[in-house]
């Protein structure tokens, strides 16, 4: 009896010790991992942070960096504060409370240290097409090289380019991928392989021949010419992604639709395509953003400033007023960044699904 009791007690002590040790190890590991992630993310986040800070704080003709350092003094302790709050909290409630406190403290510090320097003057380009002359006159230089179009015109061009390209790519890729997924035809295998090879070409290698091609067919300096080139480059990848989504749609469903009285086209539109909605959303977002950020082709193939897209606008702003006012350059950057950022945030869910290969939720 006493022997049995002793055994029980020793075991009980051991269990507690083991549990405590494992808790400590888990905590230490999590602490380490988060510390590492924060250390790595600071240099990644910092440029974006500075871009925004400069856009809202820099003044024409003044090159001062104090405000940047003051903002870093706020940013880094705030991130460490979040980390500490998460690590030290004993419950979910404590964690949220701690995070909220850190956030409020960070906001107050930001308003005190950086707030007085913030202003909207750098966004002059949104309302004044000839902002470059205005800026130059402020610092006394008058000669300027670039005649800027209205920024909203460039914005519209970018939307038109990215949007048209997206519509074409999604339509063609869906049809082509469906055919590749469902029909066996001679050369199907080599076609699939060549899709991947096409994607392997660095776009710069084709710049000269494409320039000549567009020149001869009369589409040089036209948005439509650039759209065609972009579509050609984007299609292989989009087809490949869509094929994966169509492959995941069972044959039975399609056969069922056919016996239910649908034609092949109706079965595709009403039964198969809805199963691939997530794939369509994913390639739409990717293609749109790809068109939105396109720089090399528009730079090479578009000449008149009425054809400028946002990336060209940004490029020429940088060329023209960089030395005069880097605040405006940053402001244009922020303006250029916002649409694609919003799109990414809205579509995150579908983009994640694409990376796991079209698994249905």
């Amino acid at each position: 009896m006493s022997a049995a009791g002793t055994t029980d007690r020793t075991e009980a002590v051991n269990w507690d010790k083991l549990a405590a040790r494992s808790r400590t190890v888990r905590r230490a590991k999590a602490t380490g991992i988060y510390a590492f992630l924060i250390a790595v993310s600071v240099p990644i986040v910092l440029p974006y942070f500075w871009l925004v800070t400069i856009a809202f704080s820099a003044k024409t003709g003044v090159a001062e960096t104090h405000v940047l350092w003051r903002s870093v003094i706020v940013l880094v302790p705030t991130m460490i504060g979040f980390w500490a709050a998460a690590m030290l909290a004993r419950s979910r409630r404590q964690r949220w409370l701690g995070m909220a406190l850190v956030a409020v403290a960070g906001l107050v510090a930001f308003l005190l240290l950086v707030g007085p320097s913030l202003h909207l003057e750098n966004f002059i380009f949104l309302v004044e097409p000839d902002f470059a002359s205005v800026l130059r006159s402020k610092v006394g230089t008058v000669s300027g090289a670039v005649q800027f179009p209205n920024v909203w015109h460039a914005f519209g061009n970018s939307i038109l380019l990215a949007g048209t390209q997206t519509v074409i790519v999604v339509t063609v890729a869906s049809l082509a991928a469906y055919y590749l997924s469902r029909f066996d035809f001679p050369g199907r295998g080599s076609m699939l392989r060549s899709l991947l090879v096409l994607h392997a070409f660095p776009v710069l290698t084709l710049i000269v021949p494409l320039f000549l091609l567009l020149y001869y067919i009369g589409l040089l300096d036209s948005l439509f010419g650039v759209i065609l080139v972009l579509v050609a480059f984007e299609l292989p990848f989009a087809i490949f992604i869509m094929k994966g989504f169509f492959d995941a749609v069972p044959w039975d469903i399609e056969m069922s639709a056919l016996t239910d009285g649908a034609s092949r086209r109706q079965a595709f539109l009403k039964v198969v395509l809805p199963q691939a909605t997530n794939g369509i959303l994913a390639i739409s977002v990717f293609t749109f953003i790809r068109g939105w950020e396109e720089y090399i082709f528009v730079f090479t193939f578009l000449i008149r400033n009425t054809n400028w897209t946002m990336s060209l606008y940004m490029f020429y702003v940088r060329e023209d007023v960089m030395g005069v006012d880097y605040g405006v350059v940053s402001a244009v950057g922020v303006f250029y960044l916002v649409p694609s950022l919003l799109l990414y945030m809205a579509a995150q869910r579908y983009l994640l699904q694409m990376s796991v290969g079209g698994v249905k939720g």
Partner: protein, 354 residues
């Protein structure tokens, strides 16, 4: 409702000949089972009937008209797949209504027919759910309702019960059978499960490697299997098959002489476990294993001709493992097959060794 005829229907995929040439008649309102192992061409036949596959040769007739070139959408065939193949993005109501959308059925009538079909298979209260929110059995019923709502002239069931659990399978079996009786629709069931085929179908078509091995009622196939393949495929637990050489009214099986009638040369003897009994005299052996199966007990008996399965009625084993027994049987129920052609030899029987 339709009468179906296969006239020398063939199907090849590239160089692979799945069905070499099949003739078949199915009467109006009949319930027929296509039975065979995986890859025997039974599902291919079904898809030819549905119009998904075009036959590589031969003619398919519905009510005496060749329908080879009639498209799937115009054949008015209802089909239920093993996976149920419900449209995941539609509610149950839209799923069942889907076939009616292509028939230009007036809205009021479509709704009424959907409700009727749903009531028929007892899914009336599930109409607003999505297929992913249904159990396997419910999905099965919805698939059945979708196949029936268009009042098909032919109902095709492709292994409809394979994905259900044992209890549900039993009840769905009864329900499908009574539904078919009620509606009188010509029905073809594809299955590899002989119990499903024998319990549900009026007639069974046993297939092997694209050819029809035997057509008959469940009793025909059980009592008079035309070949070794059918004998082995039908019946559970499986039939005992032993090889022997017959001469002078005696079959020599591994040195044991069985008196025989009408057999000669190299033969295979088939004895169903349920036809074997423990008797005073007969084939001697020793019980090696006992498998209680509920209301029957299966004995595996080690004899000079190999292991022999004997099925005995009753829930309690009347014999113990290791016990020495004699196995007897009714000669009229023994089956004798030609070992080379594998065909049943009519009128040939063996008797238990004395």
């Amino acid at each position: 409702m339709a009468r179906i005829e296969f006239r020398n229907i063939a199907k090849r995929f590239g160089d692979v000949e799945v069905i070499p040439g099949m003739d078949l008649d199915i009467a109006d309102g009949e319930f027929v089972a296509l039975l065979g192992p995986s890859g025997c061409g039974k599902s291919t036949s079904l898809l030819i009937l549905a119009g998904i596959y075009l036959p590589s040769g031969g003619d398919l007739l519905f009510d005496g008209h060749v329908v080879n070139d009639v498209e799937a959408k115009d054949r008015n065939v209802g089909i239920v797949f093993q996976s149920y193949a419900l449209y995941p993005h539609m509610t149950v109501r839209d799923n069942i209504m889907f076939p009616l959308r292509f028939k230009k059925t007036p809205r009021d009538e479509a709704i009424r027919r959907v409700n009727d079909a749903a009531a028929l298979v007892q899914v009336g209260e599930l109409l607003d759910r999505k297929p992913s929110e249904l159990s396997g059995g419910q999905q099965q019923r919805v698939a059945l309702a979708r196949a029936l709502v268009k009042q098909p002239q032919l109902l095709l069931l492709d292994e409809p019960l394979s994905n259900l659990d044992a209890t549900l399978r039993l009840s769905m079996r009864t329900e499908i059978k009574s539904l078919q009786d009620e509606l009188g629709v010509t029905t073809i069931l594809v299955t590899h499960d002989q119990i499903e085929a024998t319990t549900m179908a009026d007639r069974i078509i046993c297939m092997r490697a694209g050819r029809i091995e035997q057509i008959g009622t469940p009793d025909d196939l059980y009592d008079r299997p035309s070949s070794l393949f059918v004998a082995g495929f039908i019946g559970s637990p499986p039939i005992n098959l032993v090889h022997g050489a017959a001469a002078n009214n005696t079959v020599d099986v591994a040195g044991v002489p069985f008196p025989a009638d009408g057999a000669n040369g190299s033969i295979t003897v088939g004895l169903r476990p349920e036809h074997l009994v423990f008797a005073e005299a007969g084939l001697p052996g020793r019980i090696a294993q006992i498998e209680p199966m509920g209301r029957e007990v299966l004995y595996v008996v080690s004899t000079d001709i190999g292991y022999v399965r004997v099925l005995e009625q009753g829930s309690v084993a009347g014999h113990a493992a290791g016990e020495k027994v004699q196995i007897g049987f009714d000669p009229a129920k023994s089956l004798v097959f030609d070992a080379t052609t594998e065909k049943l030899i009519d009128g040939a029987h063996v008797r238990p060794p004395a």
